[in-house]
């Protein structure tokens, strides 16, 4: 049997405090080589801070971060030479063309002019920048800017690609396009570490996800395994107020896992057919619509991270 590869990123007991507040709190994290790894969590959970510690832009207050087996605190420059980062907010030179942006970035990696020209050509094609490559960045649409930001992080052909919310604010076409690029990179052996607020995206792209809240990892597994472990295979979703909901749940023979977001109640079961029947019977003559669907990562996320807005951060 081949030796299992050591993890690309390995964090042990990592905390990061800003003044009195803890952005990351005793995090242990392993990103396996060659996988697409998702870092999920509500706003302020500490995702970006975690990524910054991985590429060495932030020093942990406690704990150790090793990337490619090397301590980032001591070998930051060497580590960054092997990874690429797309930041949450695009950092682009607005007054230069897309091509110039890539050339300037390539020089930060000490690539020679010939290599830069070749890579720019490849990336313009890979991310379908086309004629936009020679436009001033200020004139590009959000989708093209985001693709350019991803292109910059690929200039050095990284072994580890870090993407902080790469698809936020993009239209469905551009999103799908980026997904297929990410899959292609992963297939070619790149390890991808991605954060996102779109659970469908994480479910489709990621081999494994970690869910963070308040700086801690509260779940760490393959999406399907998380769904199986925390909820059940199927979900029934319907509108009702809290008192009605109580009545529905009390009327069932068995207790079922459930979740409420606003006026919407979701109940879970491995085979939800009987649940749908039972709920419809309890509904009397109201005939409200009960939606039966597969349980998904979003359900797990909501059930684990809390569903009230005041729980943010």
């Amino acid at each position: 049997m081949p030796e299992p590869k050591p993890p690309v990123v390995s964090m042990r007991g990592v905390s990061k405090s800003y003044g009195r507040s803890l952005a990351v709190d005793g995090l242990d994290l392993d990103v396996p080589a060659g996988q697409c790894f998702g870092l999920l969590g509500p706003n302020g959970a500490g995702k970006t801070t975690t990524l910054r510690m991985i590429y060495g832009a932030a020093r942990p207050s406690a704990g150790t971060v090793a990337v490619f087996g090397r301590d980032v605190a001591r070998h930051g420059r060497a580590v960054r030479a092997q990874l690429g980062v797309t930041l949450q907010d695009n950092v682009l030179i607005e007054t230069a063309t897309a091509r110039e942006n890539m050339e300037i970035f390539g020089r930060h990696y000490l690539l020679d002019a010939e290599t830069i020209a070749r890579r720019v050509g490849t990336l313009v094609e890979f991310l379908q920048l086309g004629a936009h490559a020679d436009m001033i960045v200020r004139r590009l649409s959000g989708g093209f800017k985001r693709r350019l930001a991803v292109a910059l992080s690929l200039m050095n052909m990284p072994e580890l690609l870090i993407l902080d919310e790469p698809t936020t604010g993009l239209d469905p076409n551009v999103r799908q396009g980026l997904w297929s690029r990410i899959r292609a990179l992963r297939a070619a052996g790149t390890t991808v570490l991605i954060t996102t607020h779109y659970m469908d995206e994480a479910e489709r792209l990621c081999d494994r996800v970690v869910i963070m809240t308040r700086g801690r990892a509260i779940a760490d597994d393959a999406p399907a395994a998380l769904i199986a472990a925390h909820l059940a295979r199927e979900a029934i979703e319907f509108d009702c107020d809290e008192a009605e909901g109580e009545r529905f749940l009390a009327g069932l023979d068995d207790a079922v896992p459930h979740l409420r977001t606003g006026d919407r109640l979701m109940a879970f079961a491995d085979d939800a057919g009987w649940l749908q029947e039972a709920l419809r019977a309890l509904d009397g003559g109201d005939r409200r619509p009960f939606v039966l669907r597969p349980a998904n990562l979003e359900d797990v996320f909501l059930s684990l991270s809390g569903t009230r807005l005041d729980e943010e951060g």
Partner: protein, 255 residues
Amino acid sequence: MDVSPRHAWSVWRRNATLYRRTWKFNILPNFFEPVFYLTAIGIGVGAYISEIGGMRYIEFLTPGLLAVAAMHGASFEVTYNVYVRIHFEKAYDGMLTTPVGPDDILIGELLWSMTRSLFYGGGFFIVAALFGLVPFPGGLAALVVIPLAGLLFAAIGLAFTMRIPFIDLFSFYFTLFLTPLFLFSDVFFPIRERLPGAWLIVAEALPLLHPVRLARSAFLGEWGWVALWDVGYILAVSAVLLEFARRGVRKRMMS
């Protein structure tokens, strides 16, 4: 310091690439400004002041203004431009995802602002030479003063920029710091003849005095021991302030 010269150079090249797009608009004022100064003072003020320290007033003034041009060239770059790159363009956040480190950024910015001071000071030098105000070949030594003044004022500006919390403080930097320096550093009048003894010691602490005195020595071809003190001051103060700026970058960018 953990400086990789090639990474620092990539930061210099970044700025140079962007400057090239607009160099015509950036370079031209460098030439107009000294033309206006030298004309106004040569034909205007100079007509009322016949001699100062044994030379024509405009001859007294020219080396001082050369140092001032170098000071301004570096100062604009390390104040507003660097601030915008940090806070608005987030350029350093981008660079710090690459092997470029914070010290490389600092040195790259320093070298670039010294380059800008060379454009400014060099522009002034050429115009002054065309006015016949530069003694050859001795005056050529004043060209070395330009990067020295650039270094000093880049270091001062970077130390300030890396530490201030908001951009409006630059108006203090220019009006309460650079303007008095401009007026009280031997540029317009010989401070030895006008300031009482105690103030002369205070004046030695002012940064602009040193490049001004060096430039004047070069123009006069008269070098004394004080030139060593001037060069020593520039190097030492720059080193201390760069270290201060370096800690500022780390604190600001890597927290």
